[in-house]
């Protein structure tokens, strides 16, 4: 990888995270798949070409889970990357959508995931691109459109919330470093961080 950085994702699910304790081996295929899904979700988003001959590691530790494992991992990874100051083209906001009979639903719990067909969608809210759609159950094609659209909308909502959290945290950091004015912190964060730059528009 002489021209860009390599993204490496490692997922670790602790045995006590679920109701039923189950020891998973390192080579558990489900976990490997989860890792590679996250990896391929972020590959087009992270500006890897800025870091040739380097590696970006994303470690996902699951401490407690009750559904929405993939979406939570992706959302957490987005925030972690931002917090680490890694330049991204956009946020990645993931959410699970499902359908009960004809009523669409969002953000399912394990109980719901086991019962109803669902699809996980990760969107890039600003560029309005979709970077991941994954589905392990069968879903009627007539329902898919509705749920997909709803999940994309939900991505926008999550984006707002993420942005709020990011700016709050940045503000805190800036205050802690006692640099620049307390009210408008953005100017000092500088143009190094493309993402934070974005925030200034809001």
């Amino acid at each position: 990888m002489h021209d860009r950085a390599l993204i490496n994702v490692e997922v670790n699910i602790v045995p006590f995270s679920t109701g039923e304790r189950r020891k998973r081996s390192r080579g558990d295929k489900r976990i490997l798949e989860l890792g590679s899904t996250i990896k391929s979700t972020f590959e087009p988003v992270v500006q890897t070409s800025l870091y040739p001959r380097s590696e970006i590691d994303i470690f996902v530790h699951v401490l407690q889970q009750d559904g929405g494992l993939l979406q939570a991992s992706i959302n957490a990874s987005t925030l972690a990357l931002i917090s680490a100051g890694i330049p991204l083209h956009d946020f990645v906001c993931a959410v699970t959508g499902g359908v009960h009979s004809t009523a669409p639903m969002l953000d399912l719990t394990t109980l719901e995931e086991n019962d109803i067909p669902h699809v996980t969608v990760a969107v890039m809210p600003k560029t309005k691109k979709v970077t991941l759609v994954t589905m392990e159950t069968r879903l009627h094609v007539d329902r898919f459109g509705d749920i997909f659209k709803l999940a994309c909308e939900a991505g926008q909502v999550i984006h707002k919330e993420m942005k709020r959290a990011v700016s709050e945290r940045t503000q805190k950091l800036v205050t802690a470093m006692e640099m620049g004015p307390r009210v408008v912190p953005s100017a000092d964060v500088g143009d190094r961080d493309a993402m934070i730059d974005d925030l200034n528009d809001y």
Binding site: G19, E20, D66, S101, T109, N114, D115, I116, P117, E153
Partner: protein
């Protein structure tokens, strides 16, 4: 579209919002489950024009409440607790009971937990239009959600939740309508807790929550008289939800195999096939050679998880505990309607099981002491004979009927065969499987589980489509029906259908040692549309005044060589299976319907039996030879009959038929004199609309012509001659067929009925005596009576079987029904595998070929014949079931135009019904009486009391029944339902 918002909660709320509980898995592991509960404030109360709740448009409860109760003049609505639904569902379902009900989620969940069938009824109730029920999700409304406290039982928690919700409703009602100035405040309705739990009522009164018991509530209603009858008394003392106990053992454990085998050997235990009783699922029997009557097994516990067809070991009780078989029809579905499929965690001695025991007890009291029969219990299974069973999903056992639901559900699969128990099944696709025929395999039957557990194999298709029914039929009777594989087809002649008998020459292998019979006037006589013609006949006068008669059978063994894939396949299939609209071949069609089929005007290889007979049909000599024939004509029975009867025809072929016929009559007479039986079985013919559509339009009885008997007699003669020959040549391994004389006890019941009802005597001392006494069973007013008796006598007999001559003693070779000392099957090698073996043996017996080593091995022949016997039996049953299905279809078609009523004979009487036989349609049915009737078991009579005199019906009485085909609502199984029309109408009974 609802706006998407992210709801956040402080961590301190977790206590309220998380539901935590421990669950024990089926394997005994304990897991901790934490469920997030999303509490909200927008769960609607369901009251119209409520000022506080948002979605008032869907609300169904009027704001003023109901005024029809004398105790609550200000209007009221009721909040019933769980036990109300568990014990008073009939009241709730009543049309005249429709107060305004708030159904709490807590209550719904508890009902579901306690009984799925009741939950399903409750769901139906919620949907019903004439009921005013609002489902309030109290567990999700922040004000009414309750958390289980330390040391609190789940039951108490739920009760507290219900009280809290009731209190909330009362408060909510007052808040929702704040007083408006200048206007008179209308009286506020009250929400009343409806419960029979005294402790609960006391607690409610302490908290000043209005509450009332069901009885008092109903008494205060305007139409109370009607409703009070519906009140179940059980409601008064309902115990709280039981704690999950260890799984109870319902069945005694099996003895170890070594003990079983030792016990059987020592004679303490008895081994046999388990047969379930199709009329009474709580009863079964095991025929044991040590007893003249089969061993009776009464009750689930004593049947101890045996399934139809299993080989079991039974222990016999002391004679004082012997019982008589029940004379009542007990339907599993009716008795166990409310049994719960997903009850796997705790198999309780619940109401159903108790009801079942009660039933047994009641029945036991009614059993007659006279007909006691060895009674015992299953102590072990020698061999399971489980296979895949065709089933329907019982729709009431479903948790969720939502078609998109993918949740795993435990449901009941009801097998099509009445002989099998319901199978418990776990599936994720239950909703889509309802209304389909599915294949289910039993996996295991644990001692702790009332039902066997199985798994779904595949779906066969929608119920009542012909494809699904046909495939299910084949599967049910274990008929191999896959197309022939390549290895098998490779065994066919390479020329395919252009294969012909090569021109006559000494070098050609086909002509080696074959007689040229092409010049003989040979013809075949078969049913119309027959494609696999395997026999043909000829007869001619010899110069010495004797007659030469010949039977020519397709030379299948020339094509089907021993020990190749085609031979193995044919041995495994055993027989061709004839269904009404389909034939499942034993041999590939090229052989069966072409190369081996003795079609007219073409040369075919044959195996001939040629007799010289005196004009009195005495056999002078017989010879067997391989031959080449050319049939001159393929007649149908009818065409042959017409030709024979036409006085204008005098050609040689017609003369030949007449000659054969005259001989057949003499042979038959001789056979009858020797004591052969003339038995009857209900055979009907399905009339098809057209060959393509295969929609049956009607059913008629098969008609027998003289020519049927002609062919039959010569085939019997050929079989007997061949049997003698191969038995002489291969005394150790000859393939023969025998029919054992039935044990006399089989006839006891029929003799008794005949004696008591008609004063007739049935002499069963020998087949000849039986034939003679059957001939005397005549009722001048009822010509069909004789046939009926013959049918019933046939059922008392054993079935004929193939055997290997070296395996049984010489004196048991006889064929009881044909009254022949020796018999085999030689005449239909295209459709029966035993005949192929006989062909090979006969061919070796005349030194045409050498006998294949496998036919020298007694054990190999025995093994092969076991398979053939089983297949033969299954094929017969499949054929009968196919006819039954089509009769059902025809009835349905006929029933659409008008109601079908037919004459029927009573063949059995039960305590609560009649078994009837409709000879015109060849079907048997049950007429059930809902009301109690008088039953005289000794006289085989039932008496139906009515206002204008009692009506008595006995066995052999002629009645008129209305026949309908109705679908069972749960299983989708089409059932023939019969109701009595004459002498009395039973539809009201």
């Amino acid at each position: 579209m609802v706006e998407i918002t992210i709801r956040k909660r402080p961590r301190t709320d977790a206590v309220v919002t998380q539901r935590k509980f421990f669950k024990k898995t089926a394997r005994g592991k304990v897991i901790k489950v934490i469920r997030e509960r999303y509490l909200r404030n927008d769960v609607s109360c369901g009251i119209e024009h409520c000022g506080l709740c948002e979605s008032g448009s869907e609300a169904t409860l009027p704001a003023s409440g109901a005024f029809d109760h004398e105790l609550y003049p200000n209007g009221h609505l009721i909040v019933p607790d769980t036990n109300v639904f568990l014990s008073q569902m009939d009241l709730m379902e009543s049309n005249s009971f429709n107060p305004h009900i708030v159904l709490l989620q807590t209550v719904m969940e508890e009902v579901r937990h306690r009984s799925l069938p009741l939950f399903n009824r409750l769901k139906g109730l919620v949907k019903a239009e004439d009921k005013n029920i609002w489902v309030f999700y109290n567990e999700y409304r922040s004000e009414t959600a309750v958390i289980r406290e330390e040391e609190e039982t789940p039951n108490d928690r739920n009760d507290r939740g219900i009280r809290k919700a009731t209190a909330w409703y009362n408060e909510h009602l007052s808040l929702a309508r704040p007083p408006i100035r200048g206007k008179l405040q209308p009286p506020l309705p009250t929400a009343i807790l409806l419960t029979d739990d005294v402790a609960n009522r006391q607690k409610a009164e302490k908290d000043r929550i209005p509450c009332i018991s069901i009885r008092r509530y109903v008494e205060g209603m305007k139409k109370s008289g009607l409703l009070l009858d519906l009140l179940s008394t059980a409601g008064e003392e309902i115990e709280p939800t039981k704690a999950v106990a260890a799984r109870q053992v319902l069945y005694p454990a099996y003895l170890p195999m070594s003990t079983l085998l030792a016990g059987v050997k020592a004679g303490q235990l008895h081994q046999g096939h388990f047969n379930a009783n199709q009329y009474n699922y709580l009863e079964g029997n095991v025929p044991a050679p040590a007893f003249s009557k089969p061993v009776l097994l009464v009750g689930r516990e004593h049947m101890n998880r045996a399934v139809q067809g299993d080989i079991v070991a039974v222990e016999i009780f002391p004679e004082s505990e012997w019982k008589a078989p029940a004379d009542e029809v007990v339907d599993q579905e009716a008795t166990l309607r409310n049994d719960d499929a997903s009850d796997s965690e705790e198999e309780r001695e619940d109401d159903e099981a108790l009801a079942e025991q009660k039933l047994l007890a009641v029945e036991a009291a009614k059993r007659r002491a006279a007909e006691r029969q060895p009674t015992g219990r299953v102590v072990g299974i020698i061999k399971r004979n489980w296979r895949s069973y065709v089933c329907h999903i019982d729709s009431t056992s479903l948790t969720s009927s939502n078609t998109t639901s993918l949740s795993q559900q435990t449901v009941f699969a009801t097998p099509v065969s009445r002989l099998l128990p319901r199978i418990r099944l776990r599936t994720r696709q239950a909703p889509t499987l309802v209304g389909q025929k599915i294949l289910v395999t039993i996996d295991r039957w644990l001692a702790t589980s009332r039902y066997p557990e199985g798994h779904f194999v595949r779906a066969l298709g929608k119920v009542e489509t012909k494809e699904a029914e046909q495939e299910s039929l084949l599967l049910e009777f274990d008929v191999p029906y896959r197309p022939f594989g390549k290895a098998i087809l490779d065994c066919l002649p390479q020329q395919g259908d252009s294969w012909i008998v090569p021109p006559k020459s000494t070098t050609s292998p086909e002509w080696r040692d074959r007689e040229d019979l092409r010049e003989l006037l040979i013809c075949s006589i078969d049913p119309p549309g027959c494609q696999d013609i395997d026999d043909a006949l000829h007869a001619r006068l010899l110069p010495n005044g004797n007659i030469e008669a010949g039977v020519h059978i397709a030379d299948v063994s020339h094509f089907v060589l021993p020990d190749n894939p085609m031979d193995h396949e044919a041995a495994a299939r055993g027989t061709t299976v004839y269904l009404v609209d389909k034939r499942i071949d034993m041999l590939p069609a090229l052989l069966g319907t072409n190369l081996c089929s003795l079609r007219p005007h073409v040369e075919r290889l044959a195996f001939s039996v040629i007799w010289e007979l005196t004009p009195d049909a005495e056999i002078v000599n017989v010879r067997f030879t391989k031959s080449v024939i050319a049939s001159k004509e393929a007649f149908t029975y009818e065409a042959a009959q017409l030709r024979k009867d036409d006085p204008n025809l005098n050609d040689d072929l017609t003369k030949g038929i007449r000659l054969l016929n005259s001989l057949a009559i003499k042979i038959k007479a001789a056979r009858m004199a020797a004591g052969a039986l003339n038995l009857a079985s209900p055979e009907v013919k399905i009339q098809m609309d057209s060959p393509e559509s295969s929609d049956p339009i009607d059913v008629e009885q098969k008609e027998l012509l003289e020519t049927n008997s002609l062919v039959e007699e010569f085939m019997l003669l050929a079989n007997i001659s061949v049997a003698k020959k191969i038995q002489e040549t291969f005394p150790q391994t000859a393939v023969l067929r025998r029919h054992l004389p039935p044990p006399k006890t089989n006839f006891e019941k029929l003799q008794d009925i005949l004696m008591k009802r008609k004063g007739m005597v049935l002499d069963v001392s020998s087949s000849g005596a039986l034939a003679a006494s059957l001939d005397k069973c005549l009722d001048p007013s009822e010509p069909a009576f004789n046939t009926l008796v013959r049918i019933m006598a046939t059922r008392c007999m054993l079935s004929a079987e193939y055997f290997c001559s070296g395996s049984v003693s010489r004196d048991t070779f006889g064929h009881y029904g044909l009254a022949s000392p020796i018999y085999t099957h030689f005449t239909s090698p295209i459709r029966r595998y035993a005949d192929v073996l006989v062909h090979r043996q006969l061919s070796a017996a005349i030194s045409y070929t050498t006998l294949h080593p496998s036919l020298h091995s007694k054990s190999h022949v025995e093994r092969t014949l076991d398979v053939v016997n089983k297949r033969h039996r299954m094929a017969q049953m499949a054929g009968r079931a196919s006819v039954e299905f089509f009769v059902g279809l025809a009835l349905k078609a006929r029933g659409e135009k008008q109601t079908v009523t037919e004459d029927a004979f009573v063949i059995r009487t039960f305590r609560n019904g009649l078994g009837v036989f409709v000879s015109k349609l060849g079907i048997e049915g049950l007429v059930m009486f809902k009301r109690e009737i008088q039953f005289d078991a000794d006289k085989y009579t039932i008496t139906v009391p009515s206002d204008n005199g009692d009506t008595t019906i006995s066995v052999f009485d002629k009645v008129t029944v209305r026949i309908e085909v109705e679908k069972d609502a749960n299983t989708q199984r089409g059932k023939v339902k019969m109701t009595l029309v004459n002498p009395i109408n039973s539809s009201a009974l």
